[in-house]
């Protein structure tokens, strides 16, 4: 069998340990329930032999019948309690696992996230862990308890007759082996089915986020067609997976018929030799029926374990991913405005296509850099290196004199503020969108920041103030408002270096003026890097750096470059003037 038992156990150990008290109770209840189930057929045998006159004495038929009912009811109560406990333990354990997994993924580098839809992440964090929760609850109630019940039955059959015991044991072992064999055959199909599900729902998620883009491109039929094509693909995988379940059920039915045949055969043989009463033959038959439930349940729960097996693999695959930007030993960054130094920095997202080539840059604390260049010239890449979304392939990035690979990633990001052109907002309140669930930011402080940004009137226009829910992706907000909220995030973080990536590009001029005043205040006493396509936004820069195809093609004091008619910067200024004259 290829159930990754050791990996199951590692997961079990990690997530069940905090629940040990409940797990102990659960185990106790299960032992009691098994004992009651084993006892009852013995009562039955006594009853049948007494009724058939093969034995005499002892309790009456009626008393035996009542005992039987009492034991059955007792088993029921114990069973319900056990199920409740197992459900509760399972949710606690898997919630912890979900949170750990989500946090792990949330901290992975952007290279990981680029390839994945939020829908796919839901499937991999919630869907896979849900399959695992079956594992937690079913492993006890399903597999372990049933294995114990099976073992108990075998011991009792051996007590009756060693030949019967041997036959039954051989049968049980054969059945388990067969089920395991079938499991091995089916697991790859089930893994592929889950993968197909993740892709299918990932696609649906994209369609749901892209309704506007689909409408304005007249692409409704196209998307519906793609959906139906994916359904066909999904169907092929689902069908195979279902047939595997059919194979499991069918083979269990056939093996049980064999088991019944064996027990009746052995019983008839013993009875003919006077070695067994009719009650004992029935007892053998009954235990064969009774062993059916544990083995069948083991089959069902092995199915779930299989699903969980696929899920375990996928969960571990995620856990095994390491961010390409690991934490350093934790050298602290100095307080206040940060100096910035790039020395011989080269970087490529994919080998052979360098995004930055041997870039040098040096900024004093409080200095403001205007970064210029075409789309794709490496400006955003440079910002990402400063935030340690990536590490340079060659060269060093230093903030406040510290190589940022030697600091904690979180420490770097807490000291560098970054405003992107695409502000990512999520479904949640205005407060949560700005503070990211930080309870330490008071409403008062928040209002103060929003007022500073000129968002006071906007805040007042909201029906529920800071508690107003925002839509996912910032729907209902204009791009300008979204941008201002992003600025508010940075204001609150109080960083030592501020990077504005095309920050004001989407604002209308009046709001832009508003933002610029706010940005002035934000840059006060901080180092700043302004990445802009608009010349107006680099007006406040002390220094200018122009990138082209990842290389520095010009660098110098802004005033000096502007005054030198041969400089690229001056040429760009002229292009700007021409732009006005178009």
């Amino acid at each position: 069998m290829s159930i990754p038992v050791r990996r199951y156990l590692q997961l079990l150990h990690r997530y069940l340990r905090p629940e040990w008290a409940q797990v102990t109770w659960l185990a106790l209840l299960l032992v009691i329930s098994i004992a009651l189930q084993l006892l009852n057929p013995q009562v039955l045998r006594r009853f049948l032999d007494l009724a058939a006159g093969e034995v005499s004495g002892g309790p009456s038929l009626t008393a035996l019948a009542r005992l039987f009912i009492a034991l059955a009811l007792g088993a029921e109560v114990v069973n319900v309690l056990a199920r409740y406990l197992s459900e509760s333990v399972s949710w606690r354990a898997t919630n912890a696992l979900r949170a750990d997994l989500a946090e792990h993924c949330l901290r992975l580098d952007l290279g990981f996230h680029k390839g994945r839809t939020p829908g796919e992440m839901v499937e991999r964090i919630d869907g896979d862990v849900m399959a695992l929760s079956q594992f937690f609850s079913q492993l006890f109630i399903g597999v372990l308890a049933n294995l114990a019940l099976m073992a108990g039955i075998l011991v009792l059959v051996f007590r009756e007759n060693w030949r019967a015991g041997l036959a039954m044991t051989a049968f049980a072992l054969f059945t388990l082996w067969l089920l395991g064999k079938i499991r091995t055959i089916s697991l790859p199909h089930l893994t592929r089915q889950r993968q197909a599900a993740a892709e299918f729902y990932g696609f649906l998620g994209e369609v749901l986020s892209g309704t506007e883009a689909i409408r304005v491109s007249g692409a409704r039929s196209h998307m519906l067609r793609r959906h139906l094509a994916m359904v066909q693909d999904f169907y092929r995988h689902n069908l195979k997976a279902t047939m595997m379940f059919g194979l499991m059920w069918g083979s269990s039915i056939v093996t049980f018929a064999l088991g019944t045949a064996i027990s009746l055969g052995v019983g008839a043989w013993l009875h003919a030799r006077g070695a067994a009463t009719a009650g004992t033959v029935y007892l053998l038959f009954h235990y064969t029926q009774l062993i059916r439930r544990p083995i069948e349940q083991i089959r069902v729960h092995l199915q779930e374990l299989q699903r969980a097996g696929a899920a375990v693999e996928r969960v571990e695959e995620l856990f095994a991913l390491r961010t390409s930007v690991p934490d350093g030993p934790g050298r602290p960054l100095p307080a206040g405005a940060l100096s910035v130094e790039l020395a011989g920095v080269s970087f490529a997202y994919e080998p052979g296509a360098p995004a930055l080539k041997d870039v040098d840059l040096c900024l004093r604390p409080g200095e403001i850099l205007g970064l210029l260049g075409r789309t794709g010239s490496g400006k955003s890449t440079l910002a990402r290196l400063l935030l340690r979304f990536y590490d340079p392939d060659e060269g060093v990035v230093r903030l406040g004199g510290v190589d940022i690979r030697e600091a904690k990633v979180a420490a770097v990001r807490s000291r560098v503020g970054f405003v992107t052109q695409d502000v990512q907002l999520f479904a949640g309140t205005v407060r949560d969108n700005i503070t990211f669930f930080d309870p330490n930011v008071t409403d008062e402080r928040l209002r103060q920041v929003l007022n500073q940004l000129g968002l006071g009137p906007w805040l007042e226009s909201l029906p529920q103030g800071l508690d107003t829910p925002l839509e996912s992706g910032g729907g209902g907000l204009s791009a300008g408002e979204a941008q201002l909220l992003a600025l508010a995030r940075v204001f609150l973080a109080d960083p030592g270096l501020v990077i504005l990536d095309e920050a004001s590009s989407r604002l209308d001029p009046a709001t832009e003026a508003l933002v610029e005043r706010a940005v002035d205040r934000l840059l006060e006493g901080r180092t700043g890097i302004i990445i802009a396509h608009r010349l107006a936004t680099v007006e406040r820069a002390d220094t200018i750096l122009i990138l082209e195809d990842g290389e520095v093609v010009e660098r110098g004091a802004r005033a000096g470059l502007a005054a030198d008619p041969a400089s690229r910067f001056a040429r760009l200024l002229r292009t700007g003037v021409e732009e006005v004259l178009v």
Binding site: E76, A213, Q289, R413, L535
Partner: protein, 586 residues
């Protein structure tokens, strides 16, 4: 729509397929009647209650033969049932997607996308399973009827008494039905909050990382997960109590047989074989009650799922959910072609009168906006943040529901802008363009039939050709989820290429150049204006656009405050001067 009509609608989508499944599953469940009788015969021979009949060894051989037959029926039944299941969910998802995509594009979802995805996944699955498990219910019921009749023939009084606990289980299940419903609703909502948060936090992962807020977001996630656990345990506990009661009812039933049989057995009227048959069938009938109880609970939960799915129709008649759309699980897929927009002559003039469109939650939007766009003109909409520029464009294209106002195309009123303002009449580049997983070419075409040369021309119009040349796989480059492998400017120009490829009579651009650098932007405008006969309606505050504009529509707080050429407006409008001077390049 009642839950039953809903389930029945799925059953009757492929009636013959479903009927085949019903027959096969009935076979699967009724076959165990035979081994029961064989076992009875065996024990009666053993205790000499019966003198004639099959030899024990023949009985044993027959038992195995029946099991093999059942295996074959199961294989066939699983194949038809899996096919049926796919039809159920594909039909629901297709009808819902079709409806969602015909709604105003910027207001197509009543809930955040993560939550809607959740419904399309879990609620559809719920409906699929309930409809499929009905097969098992039918099969098991048939078995129960047959078995009970046979047992009645042996001992009617005992049969009735023995099955009493089973009937009680069914009654109890029905009684607690409402509680199940409530619990299920609560746990579903709690689950939706958790999955919604996962989608949101990974949708905004860069912002979370920039803010270093990973731990805080996860803290929130843990709180929501905890609420979900409480709701889930309550939900499952009740269902499991019912399940466990149903499963154990058969042991109690066996006890009752013993109690009642104590006298008749001693008198020889009730044989050991009869006892064996009773217990044997009792086990299967208990499975039936257990399963039926479980199915009834599922059925109730399907009622909740159905309501949540109907809510996605947003106003369409409920029957839409089950519309008999064509689903093919093999071979070419069939989709109705993009609906032809209502006929109308080539654009001479687009006129908007008294357009009012407010956002439901904030109440903000546009009020009574009127404007005219003549053919070949370049119209710019300007205004501050929140003045309603994007809302205006969306309202004109039918992407948002409007409260009042009319669109006139060449003087003729447009009844349904959403159906009318589509390619090749009108195409747009949204403010935040969205790309889909797939190649660049797929994203530009999005199903639009055009030659390679036309695609290349659109790429050129969008100033994307240099970027393409730098990509190893050119148009076949995979853009990643939501186009995240491209830069912001590349995404925007890909969306522009998508628009240009459709050669629309009216081009609508919402701040197209915002993520572009000066040179790229200039090239883009030059190529656009170089095309001659183009009609454009754009939101922009760029110098180049404002200068070029034949008219500027100036918006303030959702209303048109002025309209004219740039120099006129600069002369007379304080608002225009404020906008212009703040944005002036020099």
């Amino acid at each position: 729509m009642s839950t039953w009509r809903f389930v029945w609608g799925l059953v009757t989508y492929r009636p013959l397929l479903y009927l085949t499944s019903v027959i096969l599953f009935t076979g699967v469940y009724v076959l165990p009647v035979v081994p029961g009788l064989l076992t009875q015969a065996f024990f009666d021979r053993l205790t000499n209650s019966a003198q004639a009949g099959l030899e024990p060894w023949s009985i044993i051989a027959l038992l195995v033969a029946v099991a093999l037959g059942r295996f074959a029926v199961i294989a066939a039944g699983f194949a038809t049932s899996a096919t049926g299941r796919e039809y159920f969910s594909a039909l629901l998802r297709r009808n819902l997607l079709e409806r969602i995509l015909e709604l105003p594009g910027a207001a197509a979802l009543p809930e955040p996308p993560g939550e809607v995805l959740n419904r399309l996944r879990d609620d559809v699955l719920q409906a699929e399973e309930t409809t499929d498990f009905l097969l098992d219910v039918v099969g098991q019921t048939t078995f129960a009827v047959v078995a009970v009749r046979m047992l009645m023939a042996i001992d009617a009084r005992m049969t009735l008494l023995v099955f009493l606990p089973l009937a009680a289980v069914l009654v109890v299940t029905r009684t607690v039905g409402n509680r199940i419903l409530q619990n299920r609703r609560r746990s579903r909502e709690a689950t939706a909050r958790v999955t919604g948060l996962i989608a949101e936090m990974f949708g905004a992962v860069q912002a979370v990382q920039v803010a270093g807020a990973e731990a805080r977001v996860i803290g929130h996630f843990r709180r929501l997960s905890d609420e979900r656990r409480e709701a889930m345990v309550a939900d499952r506990l009740l269902t499991q109590v019912l399940e466990s009661v149903a499963l154990n009812a058969s042991s109690v039933g066996t006890g009752l047989i013993l109690l009642l049989g104590a006298r008749t057995m001693a008198a020889g009227q009730f044989t050991v074989g009869d006892f064996v048959l009773f217990v044997y069938y009792l086990g299967y009938v208990a499975d039936f009650t257990h399963f039926t109880g479980r199915w009834l609970a599922m059925y109730r939960q399907t009622g909740v799922a159905k309501e949540r799915l109907l809510a996605l129709l947003q106003g369409a008649p409920p029957g839409r959910l089950l519309r008999r759309s064509v689903i093919r699980l093999r071979g070419p897929v069939e989709v109705p072609p993009e609906p032809e927009p209502p006929a109308a002559g080539p654009l001479q003039e687009l006129r908007v009168e008294g357009l009012t469109c407010r956002h439901a939650d904030s109440g903000r939007g546009i009020e009574g906006v009127s404007l005219t766009v003549p053919r070949g003109s370049f119209t710019v909409i300007a205004g501050r943040v929140g003045s309603g520029k994007t809302t205006l464009l969306r309202a004109i294209m039918g992407l948002l529901p409007v409260q009042s106002g009319t669109l006139y195309w060449n003087g003729e009123p447009v009844v349904d802008p959403a159906a009318f303002m589509v390619p090749p009449r009108c195409a747009a580049t949204p403010q935040v363009p969205l790309l889909f997983s797939g190649t660049l070419e797929e994203n530009i075409r999005m199903g639009f039939d055009a030659s390679a040369a036309e695609v290349a021309a659109a790429v050129h119009d969008a100033v994307l050709e240099r970027d393409l040349a730098a990509m190893e796989e050119g148009l076949q480059t995979r853009v990643g989820t939501r186009g995240l492998r491209l830069s912001g400017g590349q995404i925007q120009r890909t969306a522009a290429a998508r628009m240009f490829l459709r050669r629309p009579e009216l081009m609508v651009m919402d701040d197209l150049s915002s993520a572009l650098d000066v040179e790229t932007e200039q090239a883009l405008w030059e190529r656009l204006f170089g095309k001659g006969d183009v009609t454009c309606l754009v939101v922009s505050h760029r110098e180049a656009a404002l200068r070029r504009a034949d008219q500027i529509i100036l918006l303030k707080d959702g209303r048109v405050v002025d309209c004219g050429r740039l120099d006129e407006l600069l002369e007379r409008s304080e608002e225009m001067r404020a906008l212009y001077h703040a944005g002036a390049v020099q």
